[in-house]
């Protein structure tokens, strides 16, 4: 697997988070999309929705099953990626780029540091 950038953080639910100021972009990892199989439908949160840590706020449906996507950090939804609603295959094709899910304005940007870094996530994957 390619080396993941240091400023990207990960959750045990296989989401990635990139922080820009107090705006966090959230998506699912390459590992997650591979496990899910072909993604056929995505449901994203409403704009301006306030979400708590680990709150289920999106759904990704693959050919196999529906999976909840949890907010990795507390904040307010400020942008959603409409493109993956139109073309869910992007989530498989470019999960950690064009296939992002939503952006959160974080309540506490410092909490970002508590998420796993790339090395920790790699180690975590090996325990699965």
């Amino acid at each position: 697997m390619a080396k993941k950038p240091a400023d990207k953080r990960y959750t045990k639910d296989h989401e990635w988070v990139v922080l820009d100021g107090d705006i966090a972009t959230v998506g699912i990892t390459d590992h997650a999309q591979e496990q899910l199989g072909d993604v056929v439908h995505v449901e994203l949160p409403e704009l301006d929705r306030e979400v708590g840590v680990n709150e289920a706020c999106a759904v990704v449906e693959s050919v196999k099953a529906a999976s909840d996507i949890f907010a990795p950090l507390a904040g307010t939804v400020v942008e959603i990626n409409e493109t993956i609603i139109e073309d869910p295959a992007i989530v498989n094709g470019d999960p950690e780029g064009e296939g992002w899910f939503f952006k959160l304005e974080l309540d506490d940007p410092d909490a970002f540091e508590e998420l796993m870094d790339a090395d920790s996530y790699e180690e975590y994957l090996e325990t699965l």
């Binding site: 199989g37 072909d38 056929v40 439908h41 449901e43 759904v59 449906e61 050919v63 196999k64 099953a65 529906a66 869910p88 498989n92």
Partner: protein, 358 residues
């Protein structure tokens, strides 16, 4: 997964990038991540394997299914006592889909029966029902040393090259390998099911995928293909509490059997046919793109027994049982998906037209 049984093609699948999952006690490929020449034909995964089957041909390993024979002058009569189908009238070289029924008219299993001539019947039963069926059918002899492959899709016929019509069966050879071939399948496409000695299975599979049009496909695609074709999956759409009338399978009842009704549960089935069954299996089209999966409640009407995403239609499809008054095509239903109401409509099946070589 250590105590799972394996098919004769187990290592072949793994070598092709299969993701193996437990299914009915067997390790089976659910989908493939192809590499090399196969990757150039198909990127792999359920959607791509599914669409490849519809456009060209896909090879499925269905060796987990139960193969068996019944032989002797009384074989057809013995089987006929257990099923609503006309088995005595099944001609040599022909195969028929039938049902084992219980005294309540419930379905013990759905199966294929072929007449190989010379008082020999060949049966293919569901993997999950082998033990039940083999204990239930007197004189049945399970076959342990054969694999079962299915080549399905519009390109299958030119490759297999065995001149059969739909539901025809022949003992012949393919690529010099002796096999028992039937023109049938579980995808709605033209295709063949090929019973082959276990030790020749890999050679046959290799020969088949040696054709440009063919890629292996897993159980994931097999399931979405059969759902598009409106075909039942035992344990999901059929069980010991569903009758042939409820399941919409009354066409399996032989004409002669409809005069005598002398199969297990015959009186109940006849009554349901005359007076209506309390519930019926129907096709269901949810609105939007979210699949409504097995177990989804249909408000006030019933439950979904198979549901997923149709790669061919690029939309969710499902089948389920509804109370009779909800079974008319066009009836509006309300599904409950993740706690939210989702409108849906009763639609005719199959979702994708069958393309059998009749």
């Amino acid at each position: 997964m250590t105590d799972l049984k394996t098919t004769p093609l187990d290592s072949w699948h793994r070598g092709l990038g299969a993701r193996m999952v437990p299914f009915a006690g067997y390790a089976m490929p659910v989908q493939y991540d192809f590499t090399g020449a196969l990757a150039e034909r198909c990127r792999g995964g359920v959607l791509a394997e599914h669409l490849h089957c519809r456009s060209k041909a896909a090879l499925f390993d269905v060796s987990h299914m139960g193969q068996a024979t019944m032989t002797g002058a009384g074989a057809a009569e013995a089987l006929e006592r257990l099923v609503p189908g006309d088995i005595l009238g099944l001609k040599p070289g022909r195969q028929r889909y039938t049902l084992l029924t219980n005294e309540a008219g419930g379905i013990i299993d759905d199966l294929m029966v072929a007449n190989l001539g010379d008082d020999r019947l060949f049966l293919v039963v569901n993997a999950s029902r082998k033990d039940v069926d083999f204990a239930h059918i007197p004189g049945i002899v399970p076959i342990e040393n054969r694999a079962l492959l299915a080549l399905q899709g519009p390109a299958a016929s030119a490759i297999v090259g065995v001149p059969l019509s739909f539901m025809g069966v022949a003992e012949t050879s393919i690529a010099g390998i002796p096999c028992l071939v039937s023109r049938s399948g579980y995808t709605g496409e033209d295709g063949f099911e090929i019973s082959v000695p276990a030790d020749r299975a890999e050679a046959l599979a290799e020969w088949l995928v040696g054709h440009e049009a063919v890629v292996p496909a897993g159980l994931g695609a097999r399931d979405s293909l059969r759902l598009e074709a409106g075909l039942c999956l035992y344990g999901h759409d059929l069980d010991e509490t569903t009758t042939p009338v409820e399941a919409g399978l009354t066409w399996v009842i032989g004409k002669r059997r409809k005069m005598s009704w002398d199969f297990p549960g015959g009186a109940i089935v006849r009554d349901q046919l005359d007076n209506g069954a309390p519930r019926l299996r129907v096709g269901i089209k949810p609105t939007g793109r979210a699949p409504a999966r097995e177990g989804t409640a249909i408000e006030g009407a019933g439950i979904i027994t198979s549901g997923g995403f149709s790669p061919s239609l690029n939309a969710p499809i499902a089948m389920g049982y509804v109370r009779r008054e909800f079974a008319e095509d066009g009836t509006a239903l309300t599904l409950t998906v993740r706690g939210k109401p989702m409108p849906a409509t009763v639609v005719p099946m199959p979702f994708v037209p069958h393309r059998y070589a009749r």
